[in-house]
């Protein structure tokens, strides 16, 4: 459809991967531009990993440092697991965006700025004393100033939009530049625009015009000396889409409920960065998904428990402060032995902390954070798309073992996205097993001899009326019991039930040598970075493996012996050593911690450095 003449001397350079960051004011549409770029890179077959970075203010004053919004993505011709340590290309739509993002740019990287925005007023808002485009502040980078505002305005003039609406198209101008730079097609974006703005033709046309103008401008002005090409990655064949972690978690819950043949009842209280799960699920009414926006996290958790008692798949989602609030209700779910899934999307704590920043510091709370002996399984997703599988797994374990399950995600996974090979529902396990029992055999705490789960019998079932609750119950009969020996027995049974889950989960698998100098252990969203770092180190002489854990309580049964096969152990996590505590307690293995809490994922460099330091000890 869109044929642009190639500038004569276009030079192509083949690279394995590339990292780009789009940055601008919150109103500049950087998330959209970044997502479009990511979609296209995905479609042409690259592996893509993204990391949005929102300001914590809803809408900080235009042009202010607090209002800068960023979107970084890495795409590659093979597995990429991280959005990249440092971007090679930075789009900075105004001075504030430049100020905030420049420190991250790779030395010698490309800075594309919208020079029109570098006015005295904007420079002042960004606390620049002099114009960085001219005062040498960008020496050491490749600066490409483009009058984007003006060019965009010219391109969209024919559509007769208001000045404000016209100006809002300039993210597509930037996108056009980016697509040219990486030799990506315009076509899919144009199609997307046609669909998205089917009810607003002027906007559709304006955005398309701006996109083309950017592409064309790059082409004709020979803005870039070279065009980079990233070949398609070798992915398993199949149909793909990109998913954020929150979307994936929502889908995982829906699919699991359907596979269990029960309605999903998701009760939640909004909180960053978990709210999107509630928002996504509230759209799936035709799947009989019942979303309850509760008055607080306690009500949400308790309502989900009520839903489970009545036979639905009860689930709730939250972030740190909400997990703290749910502690007592989780104890109730432990005692009543009802299935429940809690998706906890971690953010930087303690307390309100840094609500829009990522962290992995709720692991200890998930494992230990209830009064009394109240064990429950804890899972963690490794990548955005893995939130789908782990949400499904959480439901599976919850039903099979009649237990609350905590699934840990985090703000990096929740907002980041990656390509996902679309699951085939029928290929997923059938979860409709528990709850099929005859009233003659029924006793509320008569356990399955293998799983130790009690039967799940919902109200409405004739002849099985029973009462449960937070008081200790007699073994089998479920009558209230204050008897000491029974309490000890029930406490031990509850613990044993959770411990037995270890038999029902995949063993831990080392990536790399099966024994050697060092094993790097990680969990959750650090997966990508640690894997990349270990891969890098594996090119050297040291025998280094990576063990990534998705089941944190109980651990995979082979974990202890596995870890002992390496001379040293490094545990990398974005907290002060919570997994390390669990591992030391469990296996009495000494371990060094790599621990940073800076509101962002590790950089590959940090992990590589720590590995080398550990190898040299």
């Amino acid at each position: 459809m869109t044929r642009l003449p190639h500038a004569v001397d276009r030079k192509f350079v083949q690279v394995h991967s590339a990292t780009v960051r789009f940055a601008g004011d919150s109103g500049d549409g950087m998330q959209l531009a970044g997502n479009q770029f990511a979609d296209i890179a995905s479609m042409v077959g690259n592996m893509v990993c993204t990391l949005p970075d929102f300001p914590s203010e809803i809408r900080a004053p235009a042009g202010s440092l607090g209002g800068v919004s960023g979107f970084q993505l890495a795409f590659a011709d093979r597995d990429v697991f991280t959005p990249g340590d440092a971007p090679y290309v930075l789009f900075a739509m105004n001075p504030a965006a430049l100020k905030v993002n420049l420190p991250d740019l790779m030395a010698g990287g490309i800075v594309l700025v919208n020079e029109d925005e570098f006015t005295a007023a904007n420079l002042e808002k960004a606390d620049y004393e002099a114009n960085p485009l001219t005062d040498g502040a960008l020496d050491g980078y490749r600066l490409i100033p483009v009058p984007m505002s003006r060019l965009n305005a010219e391109a969209v003039a024919p559509m007769g939009l208001s000045r404000r609406d016209a100006a809002r198209c300039k993210n597509f101008f930037a996108l056009g530049l980016a697509l040219w730079l990486y030799d990506r097609p315009l076509q899919p974006v144009l199609e997307w625009l046609i669909h998205k703005f089917r009810r607003n033709i002027p906007s559709m046309a304006a955005n398309a015009a701006s996109l083309r103008a950017g592409y064309h401008y790059a082409n004709t002005t020979e803005l870039f000396r070279v065009t980079y090409q990233v070949a398609p990655a070798k992915l398993p064949r199949g149909r793909y889409r990109r998913l954020t972690g929150n979307e994936a978690a929502a889908l995982g819950l829906v699919v699991a409920a359907e596979r269990a043949g029960r309605p999903l009842l998701y009760a939640s209280y909004p909180i960053t960065p978990a709210s999107e799960i509630l928002q996504e699920l509230s759209k799936y009414k035709e799947f009989d998904v019942r979303t309850l926006q509760a008055e607080d996290e306690i009500a949400a958790c308790v309502a989900a428990i009520g839903g489970s008692f009545a036979g639905a798949i009860g689930a709730t989602g939250t972030s740190g402060p909400g997990l703290s609030l749910k502690a007592e209700a989780l104890g109730l779910a432990v005692m009543t032995e009802l299935p429940l899934v809690v998706v906890n999307v971690q953010r930087a704590g303690p307390s309100t902390g840094l609500p829009t920043k990522t962290e992995q510091s709720d692991l200890a709370m998930a494992v230990f954070g209830r009064h009394g002996e109240s064990p429950l399984p804890v899972l963690a997703a490794a990548t955005p798309a893995d939130c789908f599988s782990m949400a499904f797994e959480a439901v599976r374990l919850a039903i099979r073992y009649m237990t609350p399950v905590i699934l840990l995600s985090d703000s990096f996974l929740a907002n980041g996205a990656e390509p996902w090979r679309i699951a085939v529902p029928e290929d997923l396990p059938d979860l409709s097993a528990n709850g099929r029992i005859s009233p003659t055999d029924f006793a509320p705490y008569r356990r399955d001899s293998r799983t130790l789960a009690r039967p799940w019998v919902a109200p409405g079932t004739p002849g099985c009326m029973h009462r449960i609750g937070g008081l200790e119950k007699e073994h089998e009969t479920g009558q209230v019991s204050y008897e000491g020996a029974n309490h000890h027995r029930m406490t031990t049974l509850r613990a044993e039930k959770i411990a037995r889950i270890a038999r029902d989960i995949p063993p831990a698998e080392p990536f790399g040598p099966p024994e050697g100098d060092l094993v790097v252990v990680g969990w959750g969203s650090s997966f990508g970075v640690v894997r990349a770092a270990v891969e890098e180190v594996q090119e050297g002489p040291a025998e280094v493996a990576h063990v990534h854990l998705r089941h944190l309580n109980p651990f995979p049964p082979n974990l202890g012996p596995l870890l002992k096969r390496y001379r040293r152990m490094l545990v990398a996590e974005n907290n002060l050593g919570q997994l390390r505590t669990l591992l030391r307690d469990r296996f009495l293995n000494d371990a060094t911690g790599l621990n940073r809490v800076e509101g962002r994922p590790f950089r590959i460099r940090e992990v590589v450095t720590a590995i080398h330091a550990e190898l040299e000890r």
């Binding site: 398993p236 699919v255 009760a267 989900a304 839903g307 009545a310 639905a312 004739p462 099985c464 009558q479």
Partner: protein, 352 residues
């Protein structure tokens, strides 16, 4: 197969629908452990009676509670039951009801459970008009923790935790229910089982949240808190029995009544100072405005008798009804959800 059937295990036993049940059938095997003489026994008996009376199948009834003496209630009912955590019964019931809207769901709570730690859930339940019945057993004290004051304890009450007397205005359960727009609001008292039976039956028939404050005597820690309205010799002078559409009268001979002076109520004796039956305030439980109900609820000793009966009873859509309606409309509009379509939505591409 309807959703609800999906949730049940294979019934080998006939559903109760087929049976005719008595009060006894609603008694659970668990020994009732309230103190001898506790006002809760009467409530338990009347509830068992009401369910039998109305032919509610036992497997369709769910009792949900928090923590407190009163909250032990579910253990004593031979129905489904869940004894939750302190103050959260309305939220538990919310989940139960939204999972299976055709259950008959009863919340049993106390003045501490429902109005101290659990006040917020109670309010939100009522404003949502969830179709459940809430029995708040108000004994003006924390019974189970052995006698501290509760949010309904009268100002100045001396208890273990207020040796110099409380310094808090008590909360008015009925006023709170009205402010939260509950669609059915009533008050009854443990000692008048016939009255209680009528109110329970009306609540059970009501669609939407039915809130009943039940004055309940704690013989151990607040004995005699309600003597004025329970003692046969005094009670006629101290209570109004509300009847929808009837003038507000009280007194052993029914000769006293309430009139309105502007917006202020006043007690009159019929025949005295020219007061006639036509002047009396007439109860209307069905009017959408809350003014009358709130005014009646504000009548309090020593100046006024206390009102018992149904303050307010309105038909409004229920939360669970609307929830299922949105689901049904979605299914009607888009068809029953298709997982493959859901998973494959948005921008997708093939890799081969």
């Amino acid at each position: 197969m309807s959703t609800d059937e999906r949730l049940l295990c294979q019934p080998q036993q006939a559903a109760d629908e087929a049976l005719s049940l008595s009060k006894r059938d609603f008694q659970s095997p668990q020994q009732v452990k309230w103190c001898p003489g506790c006002g809760s026994f009467a409530v338990l008996g009347q509830v068992q009676h009401a369910l039998a009376e109305m032919g509610v199948p036992r497997e369709k009834a769910v009792f949900v509670s928090g923590i407190g003496c009163s909250s032990r209630f579910p253990y004593y009912m031979n129905t489904y039951g869940i004894h939750g955590i302190h103050g959260r019964a309305p939220a538990l019931a919310w989940g139960v009801k939204c999972a299976q809207p055709d259950l008959s769901v009863w919340v049993v709570t106390g003045d501490g459970d429902g109005l101290s730690i659990g006040g917020n859930h109670l309010i939100h339940c009522m404003r949502r008009n969830l179709d459940v019945n809430i029995l708040l057993l108000n004994n003006q004290v924390y019974g189970l923790t052995k006698g501290q004051y509760s949010p309904t304890s009268p100002y100045g009450t001396r208890t273990k935790s207020s040796p110099s007397g409380t310094i808090e205005q008590p909360i008015h359960p009925v006023q709170i229910a009205l402010a939260a727009e509950a669609t059915f609001v009533a008050r009854t008292v443990f000692s008048d089982t016939a009255h209680m039976a009528r109110i329970l039956a009306a609540a059970a028939r009501h669609r939407g949240t039915a809130f009943i404050e039940i004055l309940q005597n704690c013989v151990v820690f607040a004995d005699g808190a309600f003597t004025e309205v329970t003692d046969r010799r005094q009670r006629d002078a101290h209570r109004i029995l509300l009847e929808d559409g009837e003038p507000i009268r009280f007194g052993s001979d029914g000769r006293q009544g309430i009139v309105l002076r502007g917006l202020e109520p006043a007690v009159v004796t019929l025949g005295e100072e020219g007061a006639a039956e036509e002047d009396l305030l007439v109860h209307n439980a069905k009017t959408p405005s809350r003014t009358l109900a709130a005014l009646l609820a504000s009548l309090e000793p020593p100046q006024f008798p206390q009102a018992f009966g149904i303050f307010r009873q309105l038909e409004k859509p229920t939360y669970d009804g609307l929830l299922m309606q949105q689901i049904h409309s979605a299914v009607e509009k888009n068809g029953r959800g298709d997982l493959a379509r859901l998973l494959g939505a948005g921008t997708t591409w093939y890799v081969d």
